[in-house]
Assembly symmetry: C2
Homo-oligomer: 380 residues x 2
């Protein structure tokens, strides 16, 4: 028998699909003749159409941000602790939209999709999309949904970068921007970790230059390693220590290469479960989108100038132990926004949980979100 | 024509080999029937035999710490900036010894060696050796060289762990211990990075359960990835930024998976050059030695008690930007030594160069070493 869902859950949700047949010119120079976006919505758009919130997902996210896909599913969407009736992003008040990014592998057009007028999948030929391309594709979704202006656009990590890009490129279509655990661009170290992940995938003999599906295989080893490296950077040294320490699975050292320390077991599990749900070509292009994101670049590395056209009100949140996108990186964004006399709230949340904090129900963090959304005005 | 070598170089050196045919009982329970150590010496042992300094190498080091192997070689030993006539470890005064660790791949018995009474190489059957095993094997080398007591034992990173172990297990055979950029044991995050490196190697289809030599191949992809991950942890975020920033090799983004950012080029080069000089089975067992090192474990995690029998004088050095073995980790060692009323000097060197600092000729660092060795008393 299906378990009853909690009262503050958006309950059962059905992913929706929208086909866009107007060509989309991408930053790389390629034009996508058409594309589909898979998205989910929670709550209802009000008559004035001014209560819509767009949630942008991070590297390995998808459109399933809240609720459940099946009655007997125990695993809710990836940001379910934050989105629902009475939750920080309250679906009693807001109409929440989350779309799988273009190039993704969970419903939207990406490497796994079949090319138009062809019987072949895109695979490695799917163009490398940028954060700006994602925003362009999401604008059309807003149009279709009748959202002229988002009450808020919100996201963590790579999602936060999309939020920033929305307010740069479409300043009149975003009232509030919630930028969480993000950075104005990747550091050299961030790029270095991405490069290791990419090399792990691309050097896997089963990668076949990206044509692994045609070969009936998956570069599982590479994707597993990429995810393991990622997970180390998502967690702080302290939380790794607190969760796993130097605990030995068998209580003793075995002098072999099986799992000895619990952290090894954790990493192997994370790697393993990822290969069952994610596509390697998508992972590759998502890391490239991260590397390329750098709105200040075309303004002589001046982030203040890059944000000069912005109009939104901002909430910027960082987490004290995040070493992937440290609080310092969030403060760069805050400073550039303040230099433009924009309305900015900034909070650094004390957390030992590292970059992953943005996905977790940390009390102070959720209180800040709740308080901020309280001041987002919407029509009755 | 060979280039003249600098006057402060130990000049041309010839690696030496010593066969030990007394069986060596290892921590893992296996007994090695015999083994060879490859080592180099610089300077001369004095008549009293009290000016010998043992240099212990780190994860990927070898016996070639100083000088040149060939007249026309431009690349000196790995710690040449520190060891030589008039250098911080002055070979005019000291007799310096550096041995390749047991299990290594540069002359000492390890996975590439042929098993006694057999025609097969050890390969993956070479036992996992511990830091304590290394010390045991080095004690015999000291005996052979006529060194009853080292004037000093010195090492960085994994080398520093060997120094600590020497002073725990053979307190009367070490007068001074120089422990650089080390930790009393690995953190969970350290183990996590090692595990990613191991999985990269072990999941390479050309690993063949460690029997790659018999198959005429090398798990190059895995070893390359392992080294890339390692290099990220050896350097600080700041030095990566200073050295490479977000500089693009072609001055622009190409929207493909070739080298775009200079950091990618650097990492690929580091990975590539490593596979030409290192053995994968050795890399695996060295990371295990690191993971296992934990002298406090058998004393209820009480490092102070673990060091209770120590008698040496210590110099402990950390580097401000080292995030692999941060200054905090060095201070744990210092505190435990002080709790035992031992003679300890401790310096945290201001450096942006991360863990790699210990190998670099940083002025303040070398001054500290020089000053410390000045106070190491030796017979005329």
């Amino acid at each position: 028998m299906p378990e009853p869902k909690p009262a503050d859950s958006v309950g059962l949700v059905v992913p929706q699909f929208r086909h866009f047949d107007e060509p989309l010119a991408l930053d790389c120079g390629v034009t996508l003749p058409a594309y589909d976006l898979c998205y989910e919505t929670y709550g209802a758009l009000n008559a004035a159409g001014d209560n819509a919130v767009l949630v942008c997902h991070a590297l390995s996210g998808d459109a399933h941000a809240a609720g459940y896909h099946e009655e007997d599913s125990r695993k809710p969407g990836w940001w379910d602790n934050c989105i629902g009736p009475g939750k920080p992003l309250d679906t009693n008040r807001f109409f929440v939209v989350c779309a799988n990014n273009l190039g993704g592998c969970n419903g939207s057009t990406g490497p796994l999709a079949v090319k138009p007028h062809s019987e072949k999948r895109y695979g490695p030929d799917f163009p490398i999309v940028t954060v700006r391309d994602w925003v362009r594709s999401q604008v059309r979704l807003a149009d279709v949904l009748g959202v002229k202006q988002w009450a808020a656009v919100m996201g963590g990590s790579l999602g936060g970068m999309q939020v920033l890009q929305w307010t740069i490129d479409f300043p009149d279509r975003v009232r509030h921007a919630v930028v969480i655990a993000a950075a104005p661009r990747l550091s050299t170290q961030n790029i270095a970790f991405n490069e290791v992940a990419r090399q792990a995938i691309r050097s896997d003999p089963e990668f076949h230059d990206g044509h692994y599906v045609e070969h009936g295989v998956m570069p599982e080893r590479g994707l597993r390693l990429a995810r393991m490296v990622g997970h180390i950077t998502y967690l702080s040294d302290d939380v790794l220590h607190a969760k796993f320490g130097r605990e030995l699975r068998d209580g003793k050292i075995n002098f072999n290469f099986g799992v000895e320390f619990q952290i090894e077991s954790y990493l192997r599990y994370q790697g393993e479960s990822f290969v069952n749900r994610f596509d390697a070509n998508t992972y590759l292009l998502m890391t490239k989108s991260l590397d390329y994101f750098d709105p200040a670049a075309e303004y002589g590395d001046d982030l203040t100038r890059a944000l000069a056209s912005c109009q939104a009100s901002y909430l910027v949140i960082s987490f004290s132990s995040d070493w992937r996108f440290s609080p310092k990186r969030s403060r760069e964004i805050v400073r550039a926004l303040l230099d433009n006399d924009l309305d900015v709230s900034y909070v650094d949340i004390e957390s030992e949980l590292g970059h992953d904090s943005f996905l977790l129900p940390i009390a102070q963090y959720h209180e800040v979100l709740r308080a901020y959304f309280d001041r987002v005005r919407t029509s009755p």
